[in-house]
Symmetry: C3
Subunit: 681 residues, 3 copies
């Protein structure tokens, strides 16, 4: 088995780029020697070594030190850091610093600063305040990246480069940006104004246009088609920006170095697939709840998405060490054991590296209370000690954990377009695009899933079951793919509003749900916002209010009603149905379900799809995650997300627990916030 | 009897303008063929005919199609619609499209866009974003209106013209608009700065002015006198704008065509009397609650106001078909029977036409979820069917319902000035000008009323009883008219703060309530904001908290205390009093009453005034509304605003129920959301 | 004894300036004859005389009448007022009118108007809308002040001058103001950019600067060090402005006249010590709760602060007469007796004058509902009558009350810097700088205190006990003074976050609480935001939730734990500790305490410090305040802040009650909202 995997890896390595090879988990932190109140590089490295740090991330935040004046470059200070890290055997990821411009640029070239809608504008004094498409900004960005690469590319400490940092468009509305949008639209509609007017419905309120000069700017726009296309344009420009930087870095980087960018787990505003095109490892910055709210779900959600996009492993460039926040209103330091537990949660989703933000806590600036491994006292502390003991574990077992692969049979379909389009026409004060709730419903019942960006990827052949958040905006082609998936034997749980609009965010002029009508087995003409309501006859065995916010008046054709609202008017129409279609089945939920209800629906469907095994006897707070390691052995992570001790039946007898190195018997005992890692022998 | 009415009608027709003659109720919808995703005019007209549509409203929203480029006019597309409507026997109201400018105008003449206070400004991408006093805008407006009238005026399908749409000032603060205000003030004060300084109290904070150049713009103003005059100026400019358009349309229109404008039922920002001066029918767009909140009150309130202003009948140009909203947070489609019930509610207040917004639901744009008779699927549906059956009823009985007239003995005095002046000095977080609550208190007890705009009209001679919301700003003359009304035998229920300020929104330098002191029979020097409090000794037979927010410390002279707060301090002073004055009586309420308390006060006063009959034994959810039809016969509408069936004693024995065509006995049976129409024989 | 005090007074009088000598309490109101709707100066003075008014405050609000056009001056109207007041024996404080500019200035010199961050700007139409550092504004200000002083300085009615009014920076961000800030920073850092970059941590996000031209404006700044220095700069410019005006007035004023400025009791935005430098009497405008919330605490707090800053007596230039508010949402007229009670509360804290805002209520303008002694009816009323009877009492006993002195042993340390710095990094939605709660905890238990602005004054030698709100920002030197205070025998109650940052609002790079570690007897490395929690084992005898918002994980070295959170995680660390240190003791509260808990901690500490006597057997609503009058006799005020009658044991037998003139026995009887004044014989 191992041979096959290694072979596949080589193919991948070849078709992608040659790159850094992870042979163990990397564990470390971002490190800003330049932020220290006094010189202590040697002291820091000594403390890192003692703690078991194997990776540091440097350089992405300090353009002003690399180029203190326009055209004056200083790299020696970083050479010294890199040299000492290398000497200490600590690997380095070097960032390009383009997300935070130096003061001299804002002073001399104020046109680089972002302008926002309705007269708003960005000022200097914070990061990410520029128009990333401005040529002046791009000129200086290219120069600093090239200078840095020329200088640092060959440094043996460096295993990879991070281009920019947590990029987002953040409301850019400068003139050049808008003209770029107009040209993008011109291209998209092949110059046809009649087509544009028709598809966007610009006749409405008499706002159609007859020359491209009349195409109006974003500020006062109410048209949802325009707004959604503007969001696509944002995502396109961001991807272009990242690809452009990758191109530059790729000219210089060594074959054994990778390029990455750290995404944020609010995935809505960037096109991860396009942005990742030229990278070897996507990175993610995951900040999550801790203390009593620690549940691993956000880590798993972020990881499941990045792993799907990466078609393999990813790295975690930032995550909570001590408490975090831009104010000090949300200081929640982890309970004992939680830091360690989170590390394994990352690895259980396919991460190959966990790096905290950051090594030390800042003494000044906006993020004084975004605290690193060390506090401002720069002395060992509770979290430092837990880092050290976890690092020791990783040193011993990391090689068995690295390069985890998964073969999930369930996928969640994530749609950037639907997320945005529904935001322009909100139907709820709750989360309007409940993709996280869907993931929770799977996660809580130990059903692992991929998260597929379905606006870009529509090959669902490797999956047995799809769970689809409101797919409000979709091409006919995507909807046909879903139809085909069911017909061919797939199982689908689909939420309300799916199929309602076409790719222009315009409502389809057919009986809803449009092209999905056959697969769904019903149509509907009406819907309503509803208060919290129970289901009639305790459907799904649930009492109490289980649905809210939205109710479609489904009129079954071939579908079988599964549940109705318990309400004299709405209750005339079923709202959850199942439809046997071809060899598969589609369960439709025409209302906003409670998490409890959604879990029942998903469990029932997963059973029908044959995806349920003994591990699904357990549910949160016992969480199990699995994958195959490089040796082809299955590794099972068993987490206890609670403050109480737990004993469960061991579903993996004859396996070894890796941390303790012992074979375990019929029971698995878990301390509070504990994890066991069980590996096939 | 009928002869008299016809005679009166002729007189009216002569003194006003010759105009379209309603001989039946019109029932239909706004229709935008130009918004359809594909050609279906014939199909739509076929569906209209099948459903019984008799009127459509067209054209007001599509300037850009009439004039796609500056000076290029295209009317053929509308000719085709008008021709086909005419052919189908469907009448048409044609709108002038000036409320939504074409994109080319905003691009080429950005000065037409509205500027707001404090640097805000309007952008293109939405309707009603222009300075309606801008000469460029007026030039193009006049041209398009003339071109349209030249082209369409003779079309036989057209029964009337709507000028503009839901006009409001919406924060215009352009330079020309401000200079216009300065000139308006100069005129008003006959050029006397000393007078202005004195009346507005500009010495305060040393903000008096000594040349007109120093007269400062609206942005930073805190002075309530200035603010209130600014609101008057807004109303004046809007009325001028509408009258100016009417003038143009009147040059062209036929004698059998009317001019109208659709007002909104939040009446505060426009002077209906001035604006309506040159029209023949005022129109109103009424959007109201439905489902469990359907109660007909907002329909009655809007209708009572428009009927009073019209001194006769009015038309409803827009109202709820399916669910509405600019988001999709408030989708509440009507229950079965509610659409029909609302039609009769409009007619029961004096409407001669009910037209939905709109025929079909938009596939794109801001109002995608403001749903018409048809959904986006463009197929017959539940609401379409209820439209059709209601249209059938109307066809059979409409001639008996049209041109309803009323002779109410109760009037609510509505004051634009008081509404605004109190908003600048708010005393509550509830509605600060509870005119709707007053209307509800009458409506709920089946006491019908007119609503008189008392800033303009002060002849109360036809009424027996007035109910007066806080008349915070009033001329001495108006207050004297009220004094005289009571003295002459009238009954008045008056709310707190009345008489407090003069016409400059300046507090009178006399013991409150100033010129009302004699009629009220008390004075007061103090007042307080209070929490929710009960009345002492369960006055008016009410326990629980009945008053809140405001409490005047009344010191009776001739008045008799009716109620005190149950509070150790406030309870020293009565807060509800009655005063026999001349031949009449004035009940004063120096506090914010609960609806329950206000109903008791109003019922008691109406009894004293001799205005109570057996129909007042019923109250909401049984609502009765009456009037005389053209034949001089009294028509009684009996509504059941509840989800349960109702049986009541029939107060109109020997009458015929029009819909069923049957004489009814001692009982009236009403299904849920039902209505009976009982007509004298 | 008396001789000593008189001698001291002479010294003070000499070292400060010769000045007006208070030999009795002054009692009156601000008076704006120029705001009256009609001429009634004689009538007003007649009413004042009848009521016992002895002081009026005039002129500060009407620049536009003194200088109706640029360079045209009119003073006769005020001469007439001054003459008539003098004739009536009413003393006058004349204000300079610079806080509200005339309209002509804004029109002709719009550059005087304030500009705010992010493009905001001030408009004309309100007071305090100018850049007080603008040279044009200063030119006109100087001229009007000189003209007024030239004209009025010798008027015998005038006892003092008020420069400007309630000055604050109110967001000034004009170009000149910013350049001034840059120069201020340049001076502060002696031109060293490296030092600035280092101390403010500008390397963070690469925002360090390399030329002063790159020093960026306030708008987009996130750096807390910058923000806090900006606040200091605001305070500095305000103090300079006031001192500059004082210099001018001092050139003209007579030796028997004083200069003052009316501060606001939200002390945060102005440096009272610096601003008061050249004045003889600080004044304060105190607006406080009344009715059921009347408790005297805000009066005492404000008075304790001003008395400390004045090192003696102060005057009250504005306070509630009738109800107040910029809207009419908060009209709460005083209960009978409350107006009188408040007068004595002012005197009990060291005030020599109480003057209401204002004599009459405005008929127009923003403050129509900020009601004076007279209502808009300008007739005698309930409050006028209570004024008159109180004035009568003062006339009889005022000479025994004036020039009260105190020798408090407890001080609260107030830090402007800490207030602001914590606001930039908020840790709570409650008041983030609970100095008022600390004062309440003392006040409620009848422990009198001074309030020392500790950023400026660090000589604590006259005190036995300090109570320290979160001293988040402090120099090493200040912290060392506190250390020394404890070591030398002082008692300290200190709240969380003290010592955390240095004078640049940068976190100290040492174990917290930095230089306080020894005196505190612990260190800590972690902290958390907590929900409401109880203390373990009902520490301090308190059950229920007693702590919230913040929790420091204290690790005692020499300190003794007093309380822990009742929580499985946080409860591992004590959060209230006491530490015997040298001859003194420091109680540290590492959490946000309830008022109840804080009272217990303070009482315990005050007991340990030997500061508790029999009067502390009483607590709110019985409040006792004391001081020595000019004759050296101790005067005790005993207040009943409740709506019920009270009888207490008399702690001062053999003393005379001044108002009644009677010796009282073993009991003091207090009517609702009553006060007794008991004087040693």
């Amino acid at each position: 088995m191992r041979g096959v995997i290694i072979f596949l890896f080589c193919i991948w390595g070849f078709t992608a780029n040659a790159q850094y090879r992870f042979d163990n988990i990397l564990y470390g932190a971002a490190y800003y020697s330049e932020y220290m109140p006094s010189e202590r590089l040697d002291e820091d490295i000594k403390m890192m070594k003692e703690a078991g740090v194997t990776i540091v991330r440097v350089g992405e935040s300090t353009w002003s030190l690399f180029e203190p004046q326009e055209g004056v470059f200083e790299f020696a200070w970083m050479d010294r850091i890199l040299d000492k890290m290398h000497e200490a055997g600590i690997k380095v990821i070097l960032g390009t610093p383009t997300y935070s411009i130096p003061a001299w640029m804002a002073t001399k070239y104020p046109e680089v600063l972002a302008e926002h809608t309705n007269g708003g504008k960005a000022y200097y004094g914070i990061r990410q305040n520029m128009d990333i498409t401005n040529p002046t900004y791009l000129f200086f960005s290219e120069r600093i990246v090239r200078k840095m690469m020329e200088h640092f590319a060959k440094h043996p400490a460096i295993i990879g480069y991070q281009v920019d940092n947590e990029v987002e468009a953040r409301g850019i509305n400068n003139r050049d940006y808008f003209i770029g949008f107009r040209n993008y639209i011109k291209d998209k509609f092949e110059g046809s104004l009649p087509l544009l007017n028709k598809e966007w419905g610009l006749n409405y309120w008499g706002m159609n246009i007859n020359t491209w000069e009349d195409f109006y700017q974003r500020d006062g726009v109410t048209n949802p088609s325009y707004k959604n296309e503007w969001e696509r344009y944002n995502r396109k420009r961001l991807a272009e920006f990242l690809n452009w930087q990758c191109d530059i870095v790729n000219e210089y980087k060594g074959n054994d170095q990778f390029v990455t960018h750290c995404f944020m787990p609010y995935f809505h505003n960037i096109d991860q697939v396009e942005s990742f095109r030229q990278m070897q490892y996507p990175a993610i910055n995951i900040y999550h709840d801790v203390q009593d709210k620690q549940n691993g779900q956000w880590i798993a959600y972020s990881g499941d998405y990045m792993r799907t996009v990466a078609k393999g492993n990813y790295i975690v460039t930032e995550t909570n060490a001590q408490a975090i926040g831009w104010s000090c209103r949300h200081q929640h330091p982890p309970y004992d054991g939680q830091l360690r537990q989170n590390v394994y949660a990352h690895l259980a989703s396919g991460a190959n590296m966990v790096s905290y933000w950051h090594w030390h806590s800042l003494h000044y600036g906006q993020e004084t209370y975004w605290r690193g491994i060390l506090g401002q006292d720069l002395k060992p502390n509770r979290v430092y000690k837990e880092f050290a003991s976890t690092a020791k574990e990783l040193k011993s077992i990391g090689a068995d954990l690295v390069n985890l692969s998964k073969d999930n049979k369930v996928a969640i379909l994530y749609s950037h377009d639907s997320y945005h389009a529904m935001k322009f026409m909100p139907y709820t004060d709750k989360k309007h695009y409940p993709v996280e709730m869907i993931h929770s419903a799977l996660y809580n019942q130990n059903i692992e899933s991929d998260i597929v960006p379905c606006d870009q990827w529509t090959d669902f052949s490797k999956y047995k079951m799809l769970v689809i958040p409101p797919l409000y905006v979709a091409t006919d082609s995507l909807l046909e793919k879903i139809d085909k998936f069911v017909k061919g034997g797939g199982y689908v749980v689909m939420l309300y509003k799916s199929g309602y609009c076409n790719e222009h965010s315009a409502v389809r002029a057919t009986l809803a749900p449009g092209p999905l009508r056959k697969a769904c087995g019903f149509y509907y003409q009406e819907y309503a916002n509803i208060p919290d309501l129970p289901l009639k006859d305790n459907a799904f065995g649930l009492s109490g209010n289980q649905i809210s916010d939205w109710y479609e008046f489904l009129i079954p054709e071939t579908a079988k009603p599964l549940a109705y609202a318990d309400h004299p008017f709405y209750g005339k129409w079923p709202v959850i149905t199942e439809n046997d279609y071809g060899k598969g089945k589609l369960i439709y939920v025409g209302t906003y379900p409670s998490l409890e209800l959604l879990e029942k629906i998903i469990l029932k469907t997963a059973k029908d799809a044959g995806l349920i095994s003994s591990i699904n006897d357990y549910r949160f707070p016992i969480i199990m995650r699995s994958g195959r390691n490089e040796s082809g052995k299955t590794v099972h992570y068993v987490f206890n997300y609670s403050a109480g001790s737990m004993i469960i039946n061991n579903p993996y007898p004859d396996c070894k627990e890796l941390i303790s190195g012992k074979t375990i018997g019929n029971e698995i005992k878990l301390a509070p916030w504990d994890v066991k890692i069980i590996c096939e022998q």
